[in-house]
Amino acid sequence: MKSRIRERDSSTLNESVQNTIMRDLKAVGKKFMHVLYPRKSNTLLRDWDLWGPLILCVTLALMLQRSSLDGEEDGGPQFAEVFVIVWFGAVIITLNSKLLGGNISFFQSLCVLGYCILPLTVAMVICRLVLLTEPGPVNFMIRLFVVTLMFAWSVVASTAFLADSQPPNRKALAVYPVFLFYFVISWMILTFIP
């Protein structure tokens, strides 16, 4: 009896590192799928984790980095600026929604906002690929279209998860900051120049 209890306690301690990492990666991947095909489900809220948002934020900040060869002409956001904007912005939106009377927990909201950056990260990758070809108005129109589409997707995905937690007469008040947040990130992506 005692050995069985000890076995159950150390069950995740004795497994191989690959098992642990794969389990977490699968959880993150499942949430990515939920963001890409937003339905009214509770998975993002129930088992929240902050790994996905961290991976997405670091990827986005790294891709928004430019080579700092031209020192004073470098007007784009630095890694730290992007990081601070994403996390600080997500914290402020969460505080705002809690102050308005929403019944979502702090980390659940951070988790949802972080995961819904996924479409914008995809847009960043596409923009970088498009920028490998020569610049011009067509280039810009493609990037504008892709970023607008992904921005709309992000807002719809996060609204699908967050809107239910707000009292009904304050939904617009809680959704507007999310819109502003993704708009600023889209602007940073659109004005990126390698």
Binding site: L99, L173, M188
Partner: protein, 306 residues
């Protein structure tokens, strides 16, 4: 038995049946505070109260006066204390924004729209939107102005966002603080009928900045005349909202001090808008400037080398 009947608990029935039986009786109903938001758009009251309410512009001023005393009861280190500053619904925020856009002479913005329920949602998010509107519009306008030039290299200029944020949030918090301090000081000398709390002043300033969001977006148009007309219109609207709000608070004071206060408020407002226009938006006729800067340098270099 009679004794047992006397000890029996007497049921009075509910108020509806007892009122029907005896319509002259006065009834007191104690409302659950959680139900009060539903009563904000309540049924029409008696006509005598309507006249008083119209002066204050409020349908249920009595109730909100009572509620104002009940509201801030939590100590300031709890979360609920700060929740009282976000106790607004969507339609209320829209009403307040509309009130700041349409200054009606005679109707005070604070009494009309804020009604002892100052919120921090409006000021905070209007300032945040304004920061990004100014930074993005400035960037876009500079890009469009210098579009054809070979020597211009577009940079997103992200540092300007932090500068804009500092300016706007400092204006939206420090000027109300100074004004509140000044009004409190004058209140100790001259008895004013109308006095505003610090949060109400922050609220008025926050909502009065709303007009600058469409103004900043329209400042992208690279015409000097258009930009200055926009400055005048925006200053006219928000300046008049501020002036009409604060005039009752300084009316009883010395004439010169009252006028000086109102003029200072409007001047600071103008300083903000003109300063933002000058700093974030390049002047439209500046596209010949890079070549004129280059030529003095060339002549100076030539003079040095010779």
């Amino acid at each position: 038995m009679a004794a047992a009947d006397d000890l029996q608990f007497e049921e009075f029935g509910d108020t509806a049946t007892s009122l029907a039986a005896n319509s002259d009786a006065t009834t007191i109903s104690i409302e659950d505070p959680g139900e009060t938001p539903k009563h904000k758009s309540g049924p029409p009251r008696s006509s005598r109260r309507e006249e008083d309410d119209e002066l204050l512009g409020n349908d249920d001023s009595d109730k909100t006066e009572l509620l104002a005393g009940q509201k801030k009861s939590s100590p300031f280190w709890t979360f609920e204390y700060y929740q009282t500053f976000f106790d607004v619904d969507t339609y209320q925020v829209f009403d307040r924004i509309k009130g700041s856009l349409l200054p009606i002479p005679g109707k005070n913005f604070v009494r009309l729209s804020i009604r002892s329920n100052p919120d921090l949602y409006g000021p905070f998010w209007i300032c945040a939107t304004l920061v990004f509107a100014i930074a993005i519009s400035g960037n876009l306008s500079n890009f469009l102005i210098h579009l054809g030039e070979k020597t211009y290299h577009y940079v997103p200029e992200f540092q300007k966002v932090s500068i804009a944020a500092t300016i706007i949030y400092a204006y939206a918090w420090l000027v109300p603080l100074a004004l509140w301090g000044f009004l409190m000081w004058r209140n100790s000398k001259v008895m004013n009928i109308v006095s505003y709390s610090f949060l109400e002043i922050v609220c008025v300033y926050g909502y009065s900045l709303f007009i600058y969001i469409p103004t900043a977006i329209l400042w992208i148009i690279p015409q000097k005349a258009v930009r200055w007309i926009l400055v005048m219109v925006a200053l006219g609207i928000s300046g008049s909202v501020l002036a009409m709000t604060f005039w009752p608070a300084v009316r009883e004071d010395n004439r010169r001090i009252a006028l000086a206060t109102i003029v200072t408020i409007v001047l600071l407002h103008m300083l903000l808008s003109v300063g933002c226009l000058a700093y974030f938006f390049d002047a439209p006729e500046m596209d010949h400037l890079p070549t004129t800067i280059a030529t003095p340098n060339q002549t100076a270099a030539a003079a040095k080398s010779s």
